[in-house]
């Protein structure tokens, strides 16, 4: 087994609002190894993006706060770092790609400047080395004619190209961990496929650990080595991708997988999950999926299910799984 890059232990992140505390992430644990892609999948609002932002320590302020747990990156607990020390980690050791390529580049600066900014900040290169470094960052994301691109403004680029630029910024300092928050959601499906292929390529070259956040199990199957399924602030099942498709254990995972349209199956009826996730302000005492679960037991209503390890790297939280 290769080195563990990121280990998240019992992370709790809440938003304090006028209406009360919203427990967006409520006891999440997982780890990601070097060169591995770990997917976090779930409906919108399950806390997957908040998990990503918690690791960056860039929660929306005021209101967002990490209440408990540990985020250990390369052996250091990020939650114990000073603001300044954390800033030195961002962009250099851990980086992130945001969902919307149209709005995540600053419209008034040239593309090259926006990448060079990171390079200058973290690498301490002499000025004449900055531009070659920027160009090589663009090359890493297979951006054609990088020498021309650096002089262009974001509005001159297509959506797919912009998202590659965002990727170049994220990868420009060769981080150990890359958090990709739905990076393909805003892209056309053909460009999506290219972009996913790029991720594999980058990983092969840099051995970066990737945390891939998505709501789309189809994307997961193409890129992730392991998956964590998140529901209402908790990870309900963690397993290698192949295993989770072959033998999903949690009823929610089963439902999610069945709701992915597939061309290779005769059964044309798409599965959909009835009801809505619970309010994160007013959580049920038992299993959070219980109100929507078709196979719920009496105990599900009253007690939260414990996490059960059914094999070395497959664990589930469900009363049905013993």
């Amino acid at each position: 087994m290769s080195n563990v890059v990121l280990q998240v232990e019992d992370l709790h992140t809440s938003f304090f609002t006028r209406m009360g505390e919203v427990k967006a992430v409520d006891g999440v644990s997982f780890l990601i190894r070097e060169g591995e892609t770990f997917g976090i999948v779930g409906e919108s609002g399950c806390g997957k993006s908040v998990t990503g932002l918690s690791i960056m320590r860039l929660l929306p302020e005021p209101g967002g706060q990490i209440v408990g747990g540990k985020i250990i990156l390369e052996g250091k607990n990020l939650l114990e770092l000073s603001k300044k020390a954390m800033r030195a980690y961002r962009g250099k050791i851990v980086s992130m790609i945001l969902q919307d390529p149209m709005s995540s580049l600053n419209p008034v600066y040239q593309v090259g400047d926006q990448i060079a900014e990171s390079v200058r900040l973290h690498q301490g290169l002499p000025e004449n080395m900055v531009e070659p470094e920027v160009i090589s960052a663009l090359r890493l994301l297979r951006i054609p004619a990088p020498e021309v691109r650096i002089k262009e403004y974001p509005f001159q680029l297509s959506g797919g190209m912009r998202q590659r630029v965002v990727g170049s910024i994220a990868m420009s300092c060769k981080p150990r961990l890359l958090i990709a928050d739905e990076p393909t959601t805003a892209l056309d499906s053909t460009i999506q496929a290219q972009y996913i292929a790029l991720f594999e390529d980058i990983q092969a070259k840099t051995n970066v650990a990737i945390m891939f956040i998505t709501h789309d199990f189809g994307v997961i199957s193409r890129i992730c080595d392991r998956v964590g399924v998140m529901y209402a602030g908790k990870i309900v099942e963690t397993a290698p991708t192949r295993e989770i498709f072959k033998a999903p254990k949690h009823p929610y995972t089963v439902a999610l997988i069945h709701s992915v349209p597939r061309l290779d199956q005769k059964d044309e009826r798409l599965f959909s999950i009835e009801g809505q996730p619970p309010s994160l302000m007013n959580l049920p005492p038992g299993c959070r999926f219980c109100p929507r679960c078709t196979v719920a037991l009496d105990v599900c209503k009253e007690q939260q299910p414990p996490e059960v390890k059914i094999s070395d790297n497959h664990s589930v939280s469900c009363w049905r799984v013993k």
Binding site: R18, G45, P60, A232, L280
Partner: protein
Amino acid sequence: MTVAPNIEAKTTNKRKGGVSRWSRIMKNLTFIIPLSIFIILILTSIFAPFIAPHDPEATSLTERRLPPAFIEGGSTKYLLGTDSLGRDVLSRVIYGARVSLSVSLMVIAITAGIGTLMGIASGYLGGRIDGFLMRVVDIAMSFPGLVLAMLLAVALGPGFFTVVIALSALGWAGYARLIRGETLRIRNSDFVAQARISGASSWRIMLRHIFPNVLNPLIIIMTLAVGMMILAESGMSYLGIGIPPPTPSWGSMVSDGRNDLDVAWWISTFPGICIGLVVLSGNFLGDWLRDKMDPRLRQL
């Protein structure tokens, strides 16, 4: 779809750890108080003759510059005192509400009407019509408003309708520009394309598809304009080009009292406070509506 977007929307404005009922009450108060002030203003304007204790134009030379009742020397006969001609300040403030409100409502109706018409036509039809209308807007926006008001006051004589015409003549341009922008945005939307595909006429599209979609910003700026118009009217009255005496208008009352400031501060102060209160309420209501209906317009 579910919880997250709501969480994010809710948290952006909130204070850390502010789980207070207090702030929620405050939030509601910023809506209820201005609304009440507006309702009181409207009722006062309608029922002025029944509420006002005195005739607002009746002078009493023996009772000039009497202080308000709550100050030594004041009497309960004149709750807010009297002005330099012995007129009851309270009654004048009450009747002044009528003037301020009717001027601003009339101006808003006219300017919003013309501006919306022009804006939609300009934005939807485009081309030469747009070019022409936008030059007219340029003219209206760069013509000095107070100079126009002064010229009209001299030409037509100061009066209620002169004020309305002066404020309307240039005021529509702002609406036209905003509504044009909104129309341009809506024109490219799918439902307008759909209407075109199904053969709807330009008129029908402008009336049935564009107009309902510019209503939100329109209502918001109309609400915000109530305060602006009251301020403008009072400014004109102050310069002597507004509603002429003896008709009570808040602006002219402030102006009347300025020479007596050191001996009778109440003459200018009470109408000034009324202007401030009403404009404040209008702005709060407008802001509240904007947050409810169209937060995108925060910069208006």
